[in-house]
Each structure stands twice: as C-alpha cells, then as structure tokens.
C-alpha cells in the first residue's frame, strides 16, 4: 500500500466530513464568483456610476470575501480537528508530521480544485439568472451576457489565497501539537484563554460605539463612509470579544448563586463549551445577521419612501432656472402647455436670483464656477422661514446629496465677481437643506443667501444677463405632469441649442418631482435587488453555517448525552438542554446583528436624507428584524426537532 492509497482510503472513509467541507467551499466559490461578475458587468457598472452608487457592488464583493475567509477557515478547522485522533494514530504508527502535512495538502488541493469547478459551473448558471432579472429591472434592453475572464480570475485568486492562508494557519497549529496533545484535543473542550474582563470590555465597546453613532449621525463632518465602515469594524470587534468570553462571564455571574448554578449546570456547561468552541462561527453569523437586516431593510425602506424622498428633494412639481436666455419660453406657448396638462395647474411663482461667478471652493457640481444667489427676504417669503443674514455674511445651503461641505465650510470666504467689481462674504453657516430650487436646476453644489442690502448692491453692479429667475409650477397631482414636462423640455432644447454655449445651457435642467421620483425608483429598485439578493444569499449562508455546525457536533453531543442517559437523564431533560444551547446559538447572533444593523440603518438615514425618513426607516428595520426573527424561529424549531431526534434516537 502506497502513501497515495492511504490518502484515497482516507477520503473514502470520511466521505461525509469531506462532503460537508467540499460543499462549503463550492458554495463560497459560487458566491464570490456571482458578485465578481457584477463588478465586471459593464452595463451595470455604468448604471451604478451614473447614479453614484458604484460602491454598492464593491461593498458587496468585499462583504462576500470576508464571509468566505471566515467560513472556509471555520470549515477547514472543524474538518482538521475532527481528524486529530486519526492523525495521532498515524503518528503513533510512525508517520511523520511531514506526511501528515502532505495528506492535508493533497486533500485540500483536491477539494480546492473540485469546489472551484462546481462553484464556477453553478456560479455561471445562477449569474445568468441573476443578471437577467437585474437587467430587466433596470430596463436595459441590450443585455450583454459575456462573462469577463477577470471575474474568473478574481475568484480564482481570492479563493486560492484564502486556501493557502487557511492551510498555513492549520499547519502552524498542528506543528505545535504532539501526539498526546492530538489525542487529548478531541476531548479538550474548554479554551483556557477566556477572560472576564475582556468579555466586559467587549460589551462596553458595543454599547459605547452604538451610542456614539447615534450622536454623530447628525454631524455632517463625521457622518461619512469611513465612519460607517469603522463602526462596523469596531462594533464587531466588541461582538467577538463578547462572544469569546461570554461563557466564563455567564458562568461567573451564575456561580455566585450555587442553587441556580447547580440547577442549570448542564445547560450552562453546554452553552459555555459551545460558545468557546464556536466563537468564530458565531461572529460570522453576527456579521451575516447584521448585513441581512441592513441590506434587506434599507432598500425596502428607500423604495417605499421614494415618494416622500422625491417630494422632499423636489418639493416644486416643476421648476427650472431661466437666466441669460437659457430656458426662455414666451408666455403664450407656456400657457398653451399648461392648459393642455393632464392635471390641474394650481399656481406658479417666479423667484429672482443672481447667477454669479465666484472664487472659492467647489467640486464636480461647480464646473461652471457659478452660484445662484438670492436675498434673505426672497428666501424667507418663498420657504416661509425667518432666516437672518447679517451684512457681509452669506449662508450656504448645500443641495448636492453627498455628505460634506463641497468646498465651502462654515467660516470660509466666498468672493463673487460681477462686472468689474468683486464682493467677498464670510460663510456664516454651511449645511444641507432646501434651497429655492433643487440641485439639478442650477449647476452648482449649493445656493447662497445674502443680506437684502448686500444683494441689492451686487444686483446694481450686475449686467442684466446675471439676473435670472427660478420658475416654479405647482399642480394638483404631480404624478400626472408627464406631458407638461415633456413639452417644456422640447421647447427648451430647441431654444437652448441656438445659444452661444448650448452645453452650459443644458446644464440648467428642468427638474420635476415626477422625474426625481422616477430616477429614485430606478436607483432603489436596483439597490433593492442587489441588496435583497445579498440578503437572501446570506440567509441561506447563515442557515447552512448553522446546519454545518450542528452536523459536525452531532457525534460528540450524542456521545455526551449517551453517557448521561446511562446515569439517568430523561429525554425531555435532554431536549431542554439542547433547546437552550440551540436558542443561544440561533438567536444571540441575531441580537448582536440587530444592534449593529439598527445602528447602521440609523446612520444611513442621515446619509441619504434626514430626519423626515427616520421613522419609516426604523419601522422597516424593525420589520426586517421581526421577519428575520420569525424565520429564525421556524428554522430553530425544525433544527431542534431533527437534532433532538438524532441525539435521543
């Protein structure tokens, strides 16, 4: 019998263990592949770029890779650990550690190759389905199904890298082990390294980071993607510390009351040992739960709220800026268009503003180097506000949706140039809010409000082509304004093309609630699809992780309860103990995940809108948590029934 025969025999006799490990690997390959095809699908990335959500695809790929690292590491460790006894036997019979390592290497390489194969095949099949639905959703007619070789490459590289890391790690851990240790290892259940102080620190980190998040959510300086990511990392560090030290902490607390401790000794012991054995996998489950909650709830909330968000971003049903010949229409034509509206025209307003060249900070929205400027009284009467702007100061109202000050923070200076004169003001406040018109109407990241006197001074110095007006039209039902919008756009495209700089003229867009609504719906439906797909995938994943965990523990648990049975334990008592342990394993990740998911949702509401969507967002988050919880209850009951039957049968 050669060495290879032994390896093959091994594989045959442990086929179930290998199968579980193999399926985990294939599953990970499939998931990574599916998400990487998204990244390299040109139509999708173009679409995402167009609507400024490119981060979604990268974010999901990173999430998936992180998941795969943990999942494969877990599957591998469980797989190797379940075979320590076997290795010990081989070593007693004279096999060297080098031989053992070779067995591990050969087996893992085989699994790597075959799971890649299966993963790619199933990935290609599912990706097709996945992309077809996605393309249909965002109304792209010509669908390009070619699979970019880069998605194969990235999957291959990621996966190989994960495998190599995992094998090196396991080699490091087996290198330290002696035969006696290997023999003992399967019995050794307690990890000696847990500490109560670290456990408490973990809980403190979760609480403090979540509370801090609530406070900084409304702060424009701190509320950004970096905060978002750091919160995830910090919170999950806390979760990990808590989980890995939860057992001893609970034991320590309960042990103070001897009666309670002895009464529940078996349950406590079961939970304690399972927690310290499975801390990594519990962390993965926590991360998965939080992503599930966040990724399912937020796009649903956004989608459902697109009506409100549209009204909030574009409160005027139709609006456009008319200045220096741009967007000019004569009164008769306008009246005809308004008369032919499908819905009743209820009123119009014309708000005067100055289109001023300025020197100061700006970003991609400020390509033309101009800002719309209105007087405080105009602003106050239009929006029914009581804003006071002292002379020499300016208020900057940000209309771009991205967080940040877009180059004009409070306290900075802005210099307007009109004719041959220059006017400098200090920015009194700079914040996101509603200006007269939304960001599309005037090509700028913000609008400026000046004191009435300052305003008049500039106006007096300005040529007539600087003075323009925002035209605002209101209708009975904004959802039926489609034909008005179309007709106006037609007229403007015609007239603007005759101007000296039609490209710049076309940047003064006609904005409408209906268009905003339509765009939002499109964006949110894609988000909804990608995110709920991710959520669904993660639900399946978390289910299979749990199943894998229970499956690998079955033999050990069965042996333990077999011993207890001989001493005299009743079936219902076994059921109670198993129920409690399963309850903790199934629901503690959900609790931690809910805390993090909820906090992330809270942060997200301030990133995309503001307090007006907070309530529905939180409502959706709660709904998602409840739904997930109910799903988990069903899953728990089924698993428990099967598991108890396996143990007592």
């Amino acid at each position: 019998m050669t060495f290879r025969d032994i390896a093959v025999k091994n594989l045959k006799s442990h086929i179930r263990k290998y199968l579980a490990y193999f399926l985990c690997s294939s599953f990970s390959v499939m998931v990574i592949f599916m998400f990487s095809t998204l990244i390299f699908n040109k139509q999708l990335t173009d679409f995402c770029k167009m609507i400024n959500v490119s981060f979604i695809t990268y974010f999901s790929l990173v999430a998936v890779i992180i998941f795969a690292i943990f999942f494969i590491n877990y599957a591998h460790t469980t797989f190797i650990r379940s075979r320590y006894k076997e290795f010990a036997l081989y070593m007693t019979l004279g096999m060297t550690k080098k031989d053992i390592n070779r067995i591990i290497l050969v087996e893992n390489s085989l699994i790597l190759i075959f799971s890649m194969l299966i993963g790619f095949i199933s990935g290609v099949l599912f990706s097709r389905l996945f992309q077809m639905i996605l393309m249909k959703l965002i109304n792209l007619k010509k669908v390009d199904f070619a699979f970019d070789f880069r998605s194969f490459l990235i999957t291959f590289l990621t996966f190989t890298l994960i495998y190599v890391t995992v094998i090196i790690l396991s080699r490091l851990s087996t290198r330290k082990l002696e035969i006696s240790e290997l023999l003992k290892h399967s019995r050794k259940i307690k990890s000696e390294k847990s500490s109560i102080i670290i456990g408490i620190t973990g809980i403190a980190i979760i609480i403090v980071s979540s509370i801090t998040l609530l406070f900084i959510a409304n702060n424009r300086d701190l509320n950004n993607m970096l905060t978002f990511m750091s919160y995830f990392i910090i919170a999950f560090t806390g979760v990990y510390l808590t989980i890995s030290n939860f057992g001893p902490l609970a034991v320590k607390i309960i042990k103070r009351r001897k009666g309670l401790y002895y009464k529940n000794l078996l349950s406590i012991n079961e939970i304690d040992s399972k927690f310290s054995q499975n801390k990594k996998i519990l962390l993965v489950l926590c991360v998965l739960s939080s992503i599930i909650i966040f990724s399912v709830a937020s796009p649903f909330a956004l989608y459902q709220q697109s009506h409100n968000i549209a009204l909030n971003t574009s409160p005027s049903h139709i609006e456009y800026a008319s200045v220096a010949g741009v967007n000019e229409i004569n009164r008769n034509d306008l009246d005809t268009i308004l008369k032919n509206s499908d819905t009743m025209f209820t009123g119009e307003k014309s708000i005067e503003f100055l289109k001023l060249d300025y020197k100061g900070g700006g970003d991609k929205y400020d390509l033309l180097g101009i800002k719309p400027v209105v007087s405080a009284s105009t602003y106050n009467s239009f929006l029914d506000k009581q804003l006071v702007v002292p002379e020499g100061k300016a208020v900057n109202i940000i209309t771009a949706w991205e967080p940040g000050y877009h180059g004009l923070p409070s306290g900075s200076r802005i210099e307007f140039v009109s004719g041959n004169k220059s006017f400098t003001y200090e920015i009194q406040t700079s914040s996101k809010g509603t200006f007269i018109a939304d960001g599309n109407v005037f090509p700028s990241s913000s609008g400026i409000i000046l004191n009435d006197k300052d305003y008049e001074r500039i106006k007096a110095a300005s040529a007539s082509d600087v003075i323009g007006s925002f035209k605002v039209f209101m209708f009975e039902d904004w959802k039926k304004t489609g034909n008005v919008i179309e007709n106006l756009k037609k007229v403007f495209t015609g007239s603007n093309s005759k101007l000296s700089n039609p490209v710049a003229a076309n940047m003064f867009k006609l904005s409408s609630t209906l268009d905003t609504y339509g765009n939002l719906k499109k964006v949110y439906s894609v988000m909804l699809f990608i995110f709920s797909f991710m959520g669904l995938l993660f639900i399946i994943t978390s289910g299979s992780v749990l199943y894998f965990k229970q499956y690998t523990e079955l033999a050990e648990t069965k042996a333990k309860f077999g011993k207890l049975y001989k001493i005299g334990i009743q079936k219902k008592e076994i059921k109670t103990i198993i129920s409690r342990e399963l309850l903790m394993t199934f629901f503690s990740p959900l609790v931690f995940g809910a805390i993090v998911g909820y906090s992330a949702m809270y942060l997200m509401t301030f990133m995309v809108g503001g307090s007006f969507i907070l309530a529905p967002f939180m409502e959706f988050a709660s709904l998602a948590i409840i739904a997930y919880f109910l799903f988990q209850v069903v899953f728990y009951l089924i698993t428990r029934k099967k598991y108890v039957r396996e143990i007592t049968g």
Binding site: Y262, L265, L564, K566, I567, G568, K571
Partner: protein, 254 residues
Amino acid sequence: MNVLSAVNLQKVYGGRDEANTTKALNGLNLKIESGEFIGVMGPSGSGKTTLLNILSGIDKPTSGTVEISGKNLIEMDNDQLAVFRRQKLGFVFQDFNLIDSLTIKENIILPLILDKRSPEQMEARANAVMSLFEIDGIADKYPYNVSGGQQQRTAVSRAIINHPDIVFADEPTGNLDSKSSTSVMKCLERMNTENNSTILMVTHDSFAASYCKKIIFIKDGTINMEIVRKGTRKEFFDRILDCLAVLGGERNDI
C-alpha cells in the same frame, strides 16, 4: 433484605429466523441481598454485560422480570427508568463515562443535579465522598487532566453520591493498570464494608474479582457456578482461578 431479584431472564438477539438468533441469556435467575458484593464472571460472549445492562434497566430482556427494591423495571418506560436510575442506582463503567466538559466535582454530583437536589446537599455529599476516595485535591480539574485511576475513582464517587440501593460496575478495572486497579477495588470494598453498599460487578479480572464476597460464573446465558469468599483474599483468588479453569476459560483470561 432482598435488593434485586431477576426471574427467568431471557435475551435473544437476531432476526425472526430461529437459526440466526443468539440467546445471550437463557432463563437466568438471580437474587441479591442488601450488603452483598457480587462478582459476575464468565468467558467472553457468556452474557455478562447483557445481564448487567438488563439488571440496570439500560436494556430490556426478551422475557422475564427484574425487580429492584420492590419495583418492576420491565413495566417502566424509558423516562421512568431514567429517574429510577439516578435515584436508586449507581454505575461504574469500564470507560469511566465522565463528561469531559465538567470538572471532577461536577461530574460526581451529576446524579444529584439531574435529580434537582439542594446545593447544600450536593456540596456536603460531594465533599464527603471526595475525601473518602482521596480525590478532593483534583475537584476543579477536568477528566482529561487526571489519571485513569483518578477518573475511575471519580466515577465510583459519582456512583454512590445518591446513596443508591445497588451499584452496578461494568469491568471497572478494564482500562486501568494494576496499581490503579487496586486503588479502585479498595474503594469498592470500602463502599461495601463501610457504607454497606450493595454492589454487582462484572469482570474478567480475577484479581479484581477476589475483592468480592461472592462470585457467580455464567456460561451460555445461565448461572453455571457460584462461590462464596471464605478465608483470605489470596485463597479466594486461587479458587476463582480454579473455577475459571473448570468453566473452560483460561487461567490468564483477563
């Protein structure tokens, strides 16, 4: 006083086909008085372990009855048997049967924990029994960190912590070296003489058997012979070897 009585026990393994069946027990009768220390010996396959499993309610006989302290085990269901076992019976197994995730002390009080006794009672009894068997020094260690002899003494402590009517021991020295065997057998002997515990022990080991007060030899599923200890342990040991020789087992069959 009669602690255990088994009448006409039969255990048949195998299918319905007459030719394929094996009779592990064949109409065995047994009575055990309070305070007895009985060894059950016999060649491999004679039905020793089957007998022990049936007497202790872990397995059910094909026919016949088992009564312990006036209770008929055959009529009880599995859950009743479980409660009965933890209240009235004690067990010592060849492979110790300790729970690896529990400390030595927690392992010992397991039957009391299952029976939901008061913590004071658990503490008091555990401390008493641990000092009796000289394992109080390792109370907070885990089974995989102590020697085989210590593990078995832990198992013996667990077997008597609930003051059982009878203790069943299945090859308690089977996994131990001679020194540990001696210490465990001395424990059992002390249990019998000092606490007046009733013990039924299945063993291969003639040396271990020589600590008993009475030995029954079974062969082909029935009691073949019975000897009672008279005189010194050494004399008893020699008689056991003689009986084994008569029975057809080899003298070194341990």
